[in-house]
């Protein structure tokens, strides 16, 4: 059973079909006609539209699994995927949780505990207190702080609720705000802080463990193109990584995976600074949004290895079998309005033509007539491309994004094209602050396109006004023509 929705649910269900594992989907009221519910062999209603009453409701999700006699649950990403109580409840019910053991989730879910384990395993972590901080920060601690710092929730993750403080006055205010937000978002008000790594690159390592201490490293992903701490474009291999640094990161991830006796898929996230140092940030104990780039360069179906492992089958691969080839990039298509501060939008999909062709993979749950709601994530599709080397991949991604046509809701497609067209991105040097100052000036090609759009709209309006319409009150007729028409009707 897949305890998720949207593109990731469809993606997992596709592998279920390939393996000929019977599948069950769960759906909320809003999702009863959604693609994931339609794709599965069975679909079980789990409640009302708000996630808290459906996809986040442990009892209902578990009951759906029991009722449908599922033997394993794949939680996808988000929702209950990192929830220790859920994983525990699944195992207590005698089902298999496709992911790490609950003890691992408890540890990775506590960012300070994860930091401690990482340091004990020999991984470099950012300097900072190992305890959660309160509204009153001791003066002795304040003296040692190097600003700016980022304040993060102990139970947070995924880039949510992060706040920046440039000095001690800001720190007090931001800690208070962050504590309130952490309590509301994660049910835990504990926060901590770490120095901000300026000009950083975000590089993460994909690992796979059998739960007995055997760990495979499946390459890295660079996710430096972020907006408001949310990833937009991810790729593998990381363009900013030297071979020696790559080796160090793989070793660090391997050691941490072994120390945790990690089971299933996990991602170890690192920040790299300009001076050749790297720091552990957190472990993501689940499949990631950006996992397809790893699948493209390694040729390994990550969901398939998860499912086989849960099914009790031994690893099909040894570390030597994992060879990366070429370059892959993922771009996230989000329903949002670039004209209105990139705020998420809702609406109906009135037209859809997804991209295709050589080296292009689309992971989406879109269909014509679908309603994009504000109840869930605004990520609606992912475009993943592969080619033998990075510059070809970038050209291919541009081509695919231009092909992708979605009518009814505005998206970030144009913004994504602007980013991959920019010099810094093409050179591979863009860091995590790149989008904060990103400026795009329209090219001649874009100006011509806009002119063509103006022309098309005028031609269509002209056609509408000059073509005779059905016989009814017609504002196209003047008053006396209308009168003549009316007399004819008598």
């Amino acid at each position: 059973m897949v305890a998720n929705r949207g593109e990731i649910a469809v993606r997992i269900l596709r592998t279920c079909r390939e393996l000929e594992f019977p599948s069950v989907a769960v759906y909320s009221e809003a999702d009863k006609e959604s693609l994931h519910a339609r794709y599965a062999d069975e679909a079980v209603s789990i409640g009302a539209t708000p996630a808290a009453e459906s996809y986040l409701n442990i009892e209902r999700v578990l009951q759906a699994a029991i009722d449908s006699r599922a033997d394993a649950i794949h939680p996808g990403y988000g929702f209950l995927s990192e929830n220790t109580a859920f994983a525990q409840a699944v195992e207590d019910a005698g089902l298999i949780f496709i992911g790490p053991v609950p003890e691992t989730l408890a540890l990775t879910g506590d960012k300070l505990a994860a930091r401690r384990i990482a340091r004990e395993t020999g991984l470099p972590v950012l300097p900072g207190p190992d305890e959660a901080i309160n509204d009153k920060i001791p003066a002795s601690l304040l003296k040692k702080v190097t600003f700016p710092v980022l304040i993060k929730a102990v139970s947070g993750g995924g880039g949510r609720g992060i706040r920046l403080a440039n000095n001690s006055a800001e720190l007090e205010v931001m800690v208070q705000a962050a504590r309130q937000e952490a309590l509301a978002s994660f049910g835990d008000e504990n926060v901590y802080f770490e120095p901000l790594v300026q000009q950083a690159h975000h590089v993460e390592i994909q690992i796979l463990g059998d739960g007995l201490g055997r760990i495979l490293v499946l390459g890295e992903r660079e996710c430096s193109i972020q907006r408001r701490h949310q990833k937009l474009i991810e790729e593998s291999p990381a363009p900013s990584l030297s071979p020696s640094m790559r080796k160090k990161l793989y070793e660090a991830a391997l050691n941490l995976g072994k120390a945790l006796k990690y089971r299933s898929l996990g991602t170890i996230e690192f920040l790299l600074d300009d001076y050749g140092a790297f720091y552990f940030i957190e472990v993501n104990p689940r499949i990631q949004v950006e996992h397809p780039v790893t699948e493209m360069v390694t040729g390994v179906d990550l969901v398939s290895v998860q499912l086989r492992l849960a099914d009790g089958q031994p690893f099909k691969y040894a570390q030597e079998d994992i060879v990366t080839r070429g370059s892959a990039i993922e771009a996230r298509i989000i329903a949002e309005d670039p004209e209105n501060g990139f705020l998420p939008v809702t609406g109906d999909i009135t037209y859809l033509k997804e991209a295709g062709g050589p080296g292009v993979r689309i992971d989406s749950a879109l269909y014509t007539g679908m309603h994009v709601t504000s109840d869930y994530d605004s990520l609606i599709a992912k475009v993943i491309v592969w080619a033998d080397e990075r510059q070809t991949t970038i050209r291919r991604l541009r081509r695919a994004l231009r092909e992708f046509q979605i009518g009814g809701v505005p998206t970030d497609i144009d913004f994504l094209i602007q980013i991959i067209d920019s010099e810094s991105y093409i050179q591979g040097g863009a860091n995590t602050t790149y989008l904060e100052t990103f400026q795009h000036s329209p090219t001649e090609g874009e100006e011509n396109l806009e002119k063509d759009m103006a022309l098309a709209a005028a031609l269509l309006e002209h056609k509408k006004r000059t073509q005779p319409q059905s016989v009814q009150l017609n504002p196209g007729l003047n008053n006396w023509q209308y009168q003549a028409w009316k007399e004819q009707m008598h």
Binding site: T350, Q405, D414, A456, A457
Partner: protein, 160 residues
Amino acid sequence: MTLYYVSIGTNEYQVEISTIQTKINGESIQAALVELGERGMYVLKKGPWKREMLVQPQENNQYSINANGKYVVVKVEKSNSKFRRKNSNAAGEIKAPISGIVVRVNVKEGDRVAEGDVVIVLESMKMQMLLQSPVSGIVKSVHVNLGLQLSKGDLIVKIE
């Protein structure tokens, strides 16, 4: 010849269309828009060159257009933005052009109307007159009802 003022964001284009030619910002071009069988899909042809676009009508003479990864909302009007600004104060009022009886009321308070929509029908001297909205907007107030006798200059509808 018909002149259209087309705005995309802050940019405005003037498009002249007649049976013999099309001009954009004064520049003469050979252009045609061909509708494809697929709903909303059009091909803009300029001589031998062509470009495919998804064009979907929205309310208030607006169209959303997708092409080549770009998504824009385009507004097409028969008067330019300077003219519209100048007339915006008085433009939202419809007054009786002649005295007559109200034989039809097409709107009520809060309705959305587009420029050119028929708002009221007046009957005068056995003739009917259609009063159209001069602007697009929301009906703020309706000052008449069916059968009412109006004098020239009486306020009928306010639109914002």
